[in-house]
Structure formats: C-alpha cells, structure tokens
Amino acid sequence: MTDWLSPQEWQAVALSLRVASVATLASLPAGILVAYALARWQFPGKQVVNGLVHLPLILPPVVTGYLLLLSMGRKGWIGYYLDEWFGIVFAFRWTGAVLAAAIMAFPLMVRAIRLSIEAVDPRLEEAGATLGASPAWVFLTVTLPLTLPGIIAGAILAFAKAMGEFGATITFVSNIPGQTQTLPSAVYAFLQVPGGETSAARLVVVAIAVAMSALMLSEFVARRVAARVGGG
C-alpha cells in the first residue's frame, strides 16, 4: 500500500490533509461570525459583505490567486504590513496554501452555517437572555450548540473543497514539493506530462476517497447531532 504512491506523492497527500484541516478549523470562527451577521444582523452594506463572501465561488480560481498574490504577498498591500508588524508571511509557505484554501472554501462554509443559524428559534435566545445570559453567552450556550449540525456540515464541505483546491493555491504559493505542493498540484503536474495520466489517476482516486469519506462523515454526524438536539 505504501508502495502504491511514491514518497513525494505521499507528501502531497499529507500536506493536502494538513492544509485542508487547518484551513477549515482556522476559518471556522470567522465563518460562524460572518454567517451569524448575515443571518441575524441588519447593517448597511450587508449585501456587499454577502457578495464578497461569495466572490471566490464565482471568480475563476486563478483570479482569486492573483488577487491574493497582490494583496497578501510579502510585498502586497496587506501582506507587507503583516510581515513587518507581526512577522506573518504567507507567500511560498504552507500557510499560504491554507489561506488560499480557506478563502476558496469560505462561501460554502458560510452558506451552510447561515442556513442553520436562520433555523434557530430566536425565542430560545430570548429565553437565554431573560435567564441572565449576556448576548455573548446566549450565543455560546444557545445559538452555537443548536447550529452545530450546520457547522459540522459546513466545515466538512469546506474541508472537501479545500482538499480539491488548485487554481488559487498554485497561483498564490506556487508548487514547492514538501512545502506547498498539494495533492491537486501534483495531479496537475502529472497531467502536463505526456503519459502522466496513470499517476494522475492514482492521486485522483486518493483525493476522491478522502473527500467522499469526509462528506459521508458530515452527513452522518449532522444527522446524529440533529437527532440528539431535535425533536424538542
């Protein structure tokens, strides 16, 4: 089994798993916050925020990658200050792949979470408030747990999407084996070589297996959590 993929291919698989996991977990708080704001708050420019969130879904990934390069690169108009002030660098690091994957998966995550927040009965939140919970506590103890099935579904969908992300990642952090070469980059590389199809196919099978497992897990977990919470 270990022979089936070369060490470099294994490396790509491992990196992809790491990138997708970190991207999902790291963007989850922001995803929940944005979903909550879109579901529950009225504020000027709400439609604009909604549009921005969806942008990566709509733009060709390469464009997103270029925009990331221009803004978050080491010389980018955000990346420069991140580096100067906090020493945070994304370019050519696996963290950059995380950033790209997170941004590409963000709209899917937010959509799923938003829908499940909209399904939470606001009267339960009122009940929490009258029992002495401040808005933040109400969110943590009522809204969040009730949204859990949606959060899980959103997170795993985002994970699957992050596993498959290619265009933005390669454009932003390029393809450095062991550092930024994710599974899709490896697939792409094989497809560019005459006769590389079989290698590409093996990697695609791995990608499908991982993503499918994640998806089925999400359906299963979401159903379990919903059954536990629901009916009440």
């Binding site: 009122e126 919970a133 536990r228 009916g231």
Partner: protein, 359 residues
C-alpha cells in the same frame, strides 16, 4: 413592590397601563389581545416601550425618561413561557442549571434539590426536553426560572398550551411556589380558574388599559368586572377545611357556613379558596328543601347588574363571603330580587370543578 407604567403604540393597538402591586402572585388578567404579553415583554426587557418606568422594590429596570433600560440579562428575572422554550440541546439537569451559571455570585437562589423535589422532576433529570410531555416541560421551565435566583418570575400563560389534565397537574406547583418561595410572580392568564387559585393581586386589563386592580375576592366579586365575558365570571370564597367524610366529600367552613365539596387534598385546618362560577349558582327566596345540592348559603342581594342579553349578574353577600350568580332577568323579576332582598344561593357540590379550588 413592582411598579409598572407603560405607554406603547402598535399599529392598531395602544398600550397605556399603570399599576403598582405588592409581592406575591400578581395575575394579569384579560382577553386575548388586551396587552398582557406586551407588558410582560416590557418587564422582561424584550420589548422597549415608547415610554415607561418599571421598578422592582428599589431597583429601576426601565426609565425611558432618564434613559435607563437594563438589558434583559441584567434584570435578573425568571421567565416561564407558554411554549416552555426549554433548550433542546441540554438535558433537564443542564436546563435547570442554566440560569445559575449566570446568577451573580452569592445571590440567594433556591437549592436545586429542593426545587427538583418540589416540582417532582427528579426522575427526568437526565432526559432531553424533546422526550418530555407538555406538562413535564412546563415543570422544568418553572424550575429553570426559579434556579436563576430571580428577583421576579414572569409567567406568560404557562398553562395555555396544556390540556385540562395537564393544567390540573401544574397549577399546584405554582401554588407551592407562591406559598413556599418568596419570589414575587407576575402571572398572565385568561383563565378565571387560574386567577382564582393563584392570585394575591389581580390586574384586569382591557384594550391595553387597566380596568380594575386589587385582591382577587374584590375583583372577581365585582359584577361589573367581567373582562372575559359573563360566562367566566365567578366569585371567590375563602374557607377552611373542616373534615374529610367517609363518603368522599370534604367539609369546609366558609365564615361559619358549611360547604361540601368532592374530596380535597388539604388537611383539616388548612385554608382553601373556592371559585364559584356565577352560572353554577341557583337562587331561591325560601330555603329549598329536598334538593340534591348540598350547599345552600343564605344571604342578601348586594347588587344586580343587567347585561345586554337575557342574563343578569346578581351579587349576594353571604356569611361565607360574596357570591355571584348569573340568572335570567326573567327570574330576577319572578323572584322579585332587589338589593337588600334576602335570598338563598344553591351551589351543587359537584359543579365546583377541581380546577377552581386552590389554597
């Protein structure tokens, strides 16, 4: 002391209600749409009225004039809603504990085991709300409200969604709450039975305004106050349990007059209050003999109020207290009833429903 003064306008509805009530159970009483829930929401802080001032003892919860409006979670109230609103993701135990997490340290909350025992929910603690019956849910909701160390409990028609059997199951818990726990309660109802059994003070609302306020005997015994229509009218009689008879009847004494009711749970010597629905009272000039009805109260007519229909509301002062009777105007004429006339009120033993007997 709870003092409420509110003014709020909804499209097509204007609330303008002011009342000040002592501790105990205050029942807000009135038809659907009279503004009861609006008042409760304002007290809870879930609705910001156009103008208003709400104080609880010395604390100001709201004073629009001075720009004070405590957030709901700072008011330290416990609420019991019609639909329970238990947290479906928490067990009963966690639901009960919820309020306590947020109660200020050192606040005087009820002890959990005491509340659990009082409400009879010990066997439910590890279940989730989804698996409870409607009545069980409401009991847990009451416990949850109690355990957050509230300064006031708000209960907005906590029994409305339950059927009669379930209601009968919960009402005693509110009575125990009133009697065993010192927290004041603001209780919304449009059931005369609930008012009769629970209230220490009644605030009757009509169209967003307070029409009458006072102790329940006075408000319910006033033939002119029928915020729920004359079919729901009925006076309240305070009595004491005298004895339980072998044939299943309980003998009460109301101002010295004996009253027989189907078996009550209270021990001899304990006080009870009995609502006598006005349409269940028959009047007679002479003392009637040989009737199956066991309760006959002699008294004098205090007041007669004729309504728009064929009926009339007659208030009779008896040694047991004031009794209301709804009879036809034809009978008023036939019996020659007028204020001051001597009369006997006949009350069937079984026509007093268990829901109308409180303590």
């Amino acid at each position: 002391m709870l003092s409420v003064a509110l003014r709020h306008r909804f499209p097509g509805f204007q609330l303008d209600a002011t009342f000040t009530v002592p501790h105990g159970v205050t029942v807000l009483f009135g038809r659907s749409g009279s503004g009861k829930s609006t008042i409760v929401k304002a007290v809870a802080g879930l609705l910001k009225p156009d103008e208003g001032r709400i104080t609880l003892d010395t604390d100001v919860l709201l004073d629009t004039g001075r720009g004070i409006a405590l957030a709901p979670h700072r008011r330290r109230l416990g609420t019991v809603f019609q639909e329970g609103r238990l947290f479906p993701h928490l067990t009963v135990r966690q639901n009960l504990a919820y309020g306590r997490w947020f109660a200020p340290r050192g606040s005087r909350a009820e002890r959990e085991d005491h509340v659990v025992e009082m409400l009879g929910i010990g066997h439910l603690l590890d279940r989730r709300p989804g698996l409870l019956s409607g009545g069980e849910k409401q009991r847990v909701a009451i416990g949850r409200a109690l355990l957050c160390a509230p300064r006031l409990i708000l209960a907005d028609e906590p029994l409305a969604a339950l059927d009669e059997a379930r209601k009968a199951e919960i009402l005693p818990y509110f009575e125990r709450l009133r009697d065993e726990v010192s927290v004041p309660i603001l209780y919304v109802s449009h059931s005369a039975s609930e008012v009769a059994r629970l209230a220490t003070t009644v605030v009757a609302l009509e169209n967003g305004g307070v029409v009458r306020q006072g102790p329940p005997e006075a408000v319910l015994g006033d033939p002119s106050v029928t915020p729920l229509g004359s079919r729901e009218a009925g006076a309240l009689i305070a009595a004491t349990v005298v004895r339980h008879h072998d044939d299943g009847l309980t003998e009460l004494s109301a101002g010295g007059t004996p009253l027989f009711l189907p078996h009550l749970a209270q021990l001899p010597g304990q006080p009870v209050r009995v609502r006598i629905a006005a349409h269940d009272v028959i009047l007679s000039r002479q003392r009637p003999e040989g009737l199956s009805a066991l309760n006959i109260l002699a008294g004098t007519v205090a007041e007669i109020r004729e309504g728009g229909g064929p009926g009339a509301m007659v208030a009779i002062d008896t040694p047991a207290g004031r009794v209301l009777a709804r009879i036809t105007q034809r009978s008023v004429g036939a019996l020659g009833l007028a204020p001051g006339a001597a009369v006997h009120a006949v009350i069937k033993t079984v026509s007093v429903s268990p829901a109308d007997i409180g303590r």
